[in-house]
């Protein structure tokens, strides 16, 4: 009798421990909060830099989208610009032909349209190795670019001109300094980040990590591997589409460059710089990439690509693992601080 009670207590303690550990995974760390406070503060701190900051926010969202694929599901892509570009043209066409005038609604519509494209093309990347996936994604992007080049409605090489954006929610008009555009982009980035954060911390997100590590075993415990891959590919496409749509809306222009191979390559580089699989890699990478590009372009207007290439080679050779290893102690310290703060909060509450 006593023994049964004791073992009951013991298993209750274990369950409580397990719950606590799982809850800790999804908890906001001070670093994360600081990151977003800094992002919000940038609105007021750098009012003259809102144009480049908007670019960074859009690039960050685009990289976040690729991180969902690469960092969580292990799907490599060399043609992620296909979705960025599709979303960009969708938003442009919606505005130009006054199908959906309100920017937020148009943004969602563009995202949903891109999700459809993502869903359809996802079946192409299900089978095959990384190399096949690189080629297939690259091919899809090339095909889309050529379609945009040929079609009359997309304006071909001249791009989609004559886009006039209505005020956001009927109240906030886009200004030439990009103030509204930056706040709008940042809010969208944050909202979509919250959703992504939810997704990766869900059972669905966990199953993605499992099938990334071992699809054979994932299937052997009943996970529908292909179904999950289709789902995340569709979601990621929607994210990329919204990023592209944001670019069109904030620049009131869409050109073939949204579908360029370079754009697909850049976003991959951004993720390599920032790191994959923790959601912030794309955002941090976007900041570093854009600043580096800007700085190097000022320093050596003609040869900046040389330096950026060199830096990338060094990053890859040194290995991000080694870089993270040096920052691991800091991360552990922050983790301990987080736990203490949270237990303090719970203790007083």
């Amino acid at each position: 009798m006593m023994a049964a009670e004791e073992s009951g207590d013991a298993s209750r303690t274990l369950v409580a421990q397990a719950n606590a550990a799982l809850a800790a995974r999804a908890r906001w760390s001070p670093l994360e909060i600081a990151f977003w406070l800094a992002a919000a503060a940038s609105i007021f701190l750098f009012p003259t830099k809102h144009l480049i900051l908007t670019e960074i926010a859009i690039l960050g969202l685009f990289a976040l989208s690729l991180d969902l694929l690469l960092g969580y599901a292990g799907i490599v892509s060399l043609g992620h610009a296909a979705f960025f570009g599709f979303g960009a043209y969708a938003a442009g066409l919606l505005a130009k032909y006054h199908v959906v005038n309100e920017p937020v609604l148009a943004l969602l519509a563009s995202g949903i349209a891109t999700m459809l494209l993502g869903f359809v093309t996802s079946f192409l990347v299900l089978r095959g190795s990384d190399l096949t996936r690189l080629m297939v994604t690259l091919g899809v992007a090339l095909v889309l670019r050529e379609i945009a080049n040929r079609l009359e409605i997309t304006g071909g090489a001249d791009g989609l001109q004559g886009i006039v954006m209505d005020p956001i929610l009927g109240r906030f008009s886009f200004d030439i300094y990009g103030h509204v555009a930056y706040v709008y982009s940042l809010i969208m980035l944050f909202a979509l980040f919250l959703v992504a954060r939810r997704i990766v911390n869900s059972p669905f997100g966990l199953s993605l990590r499992s099938l990334k590590g071992n699809p054979l075993r994932a299937a052997a415990i009943g996970i529908h591997v292909n179904g999950r891959l289709v789902a995340i590919y569709t979601i990621a496409a929607g994210y990329a589409g919204i990023a592209g749509a944001l670019l069109t809306q904030t620049t009131q222009f869409a050109s073939l460059s949204v579908l360029d191979f370079e754009r697909s390559a850049d976003v991959l580089l951004i993720l390599i710089i920032g790191g994959t699989g923790y959601l912030y890699g794309g955002l941090i990478g976007a900041v570093l990439f854009k600043l580096m590009q800007d700085w190097l372009a000022n320093l050596t207007p003609q040869y900046w690509q040389f330096w950026i290439g060199l830096i990338l080679v060094i990053i890859v050779l040194v290995g991000r693992d080694r870089i993270t290893r040096t920052t691991d102690p800091i991360r552990a310290l922050v983790q301990r601080a987080t736990d203490r703060v949270w237990s303090g909060v719970r203790g007083s509450g």
Binding site: A21, A23, S210, A220, I221, H224
Partner: protein, 250 residues
């Protein structure tokens, strides 16, 4: 007793090599059935065919009378077939708690939910912890699986299949490479399975096979060689010849 798992003339060719040659197995509900044979006899291929990792080039697989030959691997799991792997197939970056939790939430049909947080369903956590505790894994359930010692990883391997609550459990050399002390934990867990769970065991350790199985099939060169009760198989001169022959080679 009713047949739970049956193969009819199962065949698998890899190019010119016949890995499985017209194997017809009949496994009764609740059986403790062992599949033995020398190295390269095609035992693991049979398991891969039964679980849908490989598609047969001929023959059929029946689960409780229903044809599952063309069914995808994950659907067979939902019908109650689970397996372990000869070489650990785990999720190195996940903790044992997350690993077992995955199997449990998949079984409860919640594995695809993206709107709620991991750990927010108490049934999943409780069942996962129960399985971990049973396999003496509770003390390491928060560690990365990749950092666990081999014996513990082996336990996660077995526990993961058990967490699927199978009707038919296929064990591919569960005790391979496990130290004597931990071997006991694995076998105790397998022996403690409910009587109506059917177990098909591949194993090289003959002591283990004969203490566990109530029926034995011997596979040689992809073909079913002998099948019968353990004492009959042990006495069979042909089986002795196969094994002695192998030992003489070694």
């Amino acid at each position: 007793m009713a047949l739970v798992l049956q193969t009819v003339d199962l065949q698998k060719r890899f190019g010119g090599i016949v890995a499985t040659n017209d194997v017809s197995l009949s496994i009764e509900k609740g059986a403790r059935h062992a599949l033995i044979g020398p190295n390269g006899a095609g035992k693991t291929t049979v398991i891969n065919l039964l679980t849908g990792v490989l598609r047969p080039t001929g023959g059929r697989i029946l689960l409780e009378g229903e044809d599952i030959t063309d069914l995808e691997a994950h659907k067979r799991v939902h019908l109650g077939i689970a397996r372990t792997f000869q070489i650990n197939q785990l999720f190195p970056d996940l903790t044992p708690l997350e690993t077992i939790g995955l199997a449990v939430s998949e079984r409860l049909g919640m594995g695809g939910q993206w709107w709620r947080l991991v750990g927010s369903k108490s049934a999943v956590v409780e069942q996962a912890v129960e399985v971990l505790d049973r396999f003496h894994l509770a003390d390491v359930m928060h560690e990365r699986t990749a950092t666990l010692p081999y014996g513990k990883q082996r336990l996660v391997e077995i526990a993961l299949a058990i967490a699927c609550r199978p009707n038919v459990l296929l064990l591919d050399e569960p005790a391979a490479g496990v130290p004597e002390a931990e071997r006991h934990d694995i076998l105790a867990a397998v022996a403690a399975l409910p009587k109506d769970v059917t177990v098909l065991l591949i194993e090289h350790d003959m002591d283990l096979v004969f203490s566990f199985a109530d029926r034995i099939s011997v596979l040689v060169n992809g073909e079913l060689f002998v099948e019968g009760a353990p004492e009959d198989v042990a006495r069979d001169p042909r089986v002795k010849a196969v094994y002695l022959g192998e030992e003489a080679d070694a």
